[in-house]
């Protein structure tokens, strides 16, 4: 058995496979299918300070090799998380990461402070890239100054590993990554969903209640992979790659392009056992290719 562990700052992940925010609930929802302790980490559903009802139905449209969602950060708020969810997950032997969202910088700060109090939450993922909310979200993630402002503010109140989740809806993602690195981010994760749209030709209406939504799944993989590769070359901090990963080969491609770890999102909807299958697949790939530690794989693309 190869050593599959990777690190972000001093935080060790037993393997580089995490589930992506918004696609695995709080972990419990997929516990019927997988042993959560087999995963490198679980990035939980986007959390906000106050409960949010999210957007109206319909929130989903299937697209070629992908899907659009317009969930809009439906969640029961941080109090509910602390009281009702945290107790159930805190002793599971994996890294449960909170995906932190806000409409204003103040909200990001306040939420981060609340999460900071939770011993068994080893890191947060700062979501500055949600395309499905009217305020905040992606608006922060598409320009350097606003991305810097959020990261700077949160960094001041949070000492544990701070992962910043980037939006792909930008001209130059490497620039944004460098900007947040400059403000002390310990890692960047990318990509969040691409802003897309679906139209129903019969009813002549948008399919989603919000008109636009976020595109995920294999359709976006080639773009996500390119972005991970660009960001990897631009920053020193570890990059977490995602976007359309469906199997171990996809995950390995992201790692060769520079990802230190990967997140699996939409694939879980198709088969919730895919994340653990990927762990096994990476293990056999490493053995087959006589690689001993993850550093042999990460950024191992040969030009």
């Amino acid at each position: 058995m190869v050593d599959l562990s990777v690190r972000i700052k001093d935080l060790v992940f037993k393997n580089p496979v995490l589930t992506a925010s918004g696609t695995c609930g709080f972990g419990e929802e997929i516990a019927d299918f997988v042993d959560l302790a087999m995963l490198g980490g679980v990035v939980m559903k986007g959390t906000t300070l106050k409960p949010r009802q999210g957007n109206d139905y319909p929130r989903m449209a299937e697209t070629p090799s992908g899907m659009l969602n317009a969930v809009g950060l439906q969640n029961k708020g941080v109090d509910n998380f602390i009281q009702n969810i945290y107790p159930n997950i805190k002793d599971i032997d994996s890294n449960f990461i909170v995906n932190v969202n806000g409409s204003t910088i103040e909200e990001y700060i306040e939420l981060t402070e609340r999460i900071n109090e939770l011993d068994k939450i080893p890191a947060i993922e700062l979501n500055i890239s949600c395309p499905n909310v009217k305020e905040g979200g992606m608006a922060f993630g598409v320009s350097c100054p606003s991305a810097e402002a959020v990261v700077k503010a949160v960094r001041r109140v949070y000492d544990k590993p701070l992962i910043v989740k980037l939006s792909p809806n930008v001209t130059n993602i490497a620039e944004i990554a460098k900007a947040v690195e400059g403000q002390g981010a310990d890692s960047v994760s990318l990509v969040n969903t691409f802003l897309g749209m679906a139209v129903d030709a019969n009813s002549r209406k948008p399919v989603l209640s919000t008109i636009t939504g976020g595109l995920s799944g294999p359709a976006i993989k080639p773009i996500a992979l390119r972005m991970v590769w660009q960001v990897y070359q631009a920053v020193q901090i570890p990059v977490i790659g995602m976007g359309g990963i469906m199997n171990a080969t996809d995950a390995i491609e992201f790692m060769l392009a520079g990802a230190s770890a990967v997140q699996v999102g939409t694939a879980i909807f198709i088969d919730p056992t895919i994340p653990t299958q990927i762990v096994e697949g990476i293990d056999s790939y490493m053995e087959k290719n006589k690689m001993h530690s993850m550093s042999d794989l990460i950024g191992g693309l040969q030009m």
Binding site: G22, T23, C24, G25, E29, I30, D32, F33, K45, Q53, G54, D56, Y57, P58, R59, M60, E62, T63, P64, S65, G66, M67, N69, V71, Q74, G217, P218, T266, I268, F269, I270, D271, P272, T273
Partner: protein
């Protein structure tokens, strides 16, 4: 009931009418208990354009043979390709999913109303609700005679009435035009319904007026089917709830209809 994802064996694929098929799937292990209203989520690999699984209600369960059946109506590309699978092929299924209808109490008199692909859970419920056949009344609606599926196997479990929009079988009109519904609704203790939204809303409205307990089974569009994507939500009095986990069965009291 632990949910699993498993490769099931297609042991029967039988065309019932021009656009309905009965598929029987066999599990390699002992089946968990499955209740009327619950559904399964099916991967359709033999088509270029299908990415997500497709949900179908369970029509019947045979615990001895570890099989369950589905009633698949051809609606779009996915359901169409699914009906071309051949006996002996393997199909990946996530199951069992969702809640189920509240089973009636002994002595209850119940009315089951199914339309379109909503027929499946109604037949399943009629069969296993545990009431004598005379207490179980089932109205099935369709566009015309040829759209109705043969319910012979379920005849013993209730009294069946049909409506068609063109009058080619049973009463002409919608299910809510059937005399059993218009005249006798107040005689029932519970109403269950599954089918097109419009139909369920019409049923629910009358049931509410008469103050009869009424459960509906929703078919909101789903991505995951097990509560993680939050795409399938229905607005309820307690806020948005996932149809795949809090439903598909809802008491109409809970809904904002």
């Amino acid at each position: 009931m632990k949910k699993t994802v498993q490769e099931l064996l297609l042991v029967e694929n039988k065309q019932l009418n021009h656009d309905n098929f009965k598929l029987v799937l066999q599990a390699p292990t002992k089946l968990p208990e499955i209740f009327p209203g619950q559904f399964v989520n099916i991967e359709i690999k033999k088509a270029t354009e299908i990415f997500l699984r497709r949900p179908f209600s369970v029509l019947d369960v045979d615990y001895e043979n570890n099989t369950f059946s589905l009633l698949v109506k051809i609606l779009g590309r996915g359901s169409k390709v699914l009906t071309t699978y051949e006996e002996g092929e393997k199909i990946s299924v996530v199951y069992p999913l969702g809640n189920s209808f509240t089973l009636p109490q002994k002595q209850d008199k119940v009315l089951l109303i199914g339309g379109g692909s909503g027929v499946a859970p109604m037949l399943f419920l009629a069969k296993i609700c545990g009431l004598p056949a005379e207490n179980v009344h089932v109205i099935l609606g369709a566009r015309s005679q040829q759209d109705h599926v043969n319910i012979d196997a379920y005849q013993a479990f209730g009294n069946y009435y049909f409506t068609t929009e063109d009058g080619s079988l049973g009463e002409k009109g919608f299910v809510t035009h059937h005399p059993v519904f218009t005249n006798e609704l107040s005689t029932f203790d519970r109403v269950y319904t599954c089918g097109p939204d419009m139909m369920m809303k019409a049923v629910a409205k009358e049931a509410a007026v008469k103050g009869i307990s009424c459960e509906v089974s929703l078919e909101n569009m789903m991505a995951c089917g097990f509560g993680v994507c939050l795409c399938c939500v229905e607005k309820t009095k307690e806020g948005n709830q996932c149809v795949c986990t809090e439903g598909p069965v809802f008491n109409i009291n809970k809904l904002t209809w």
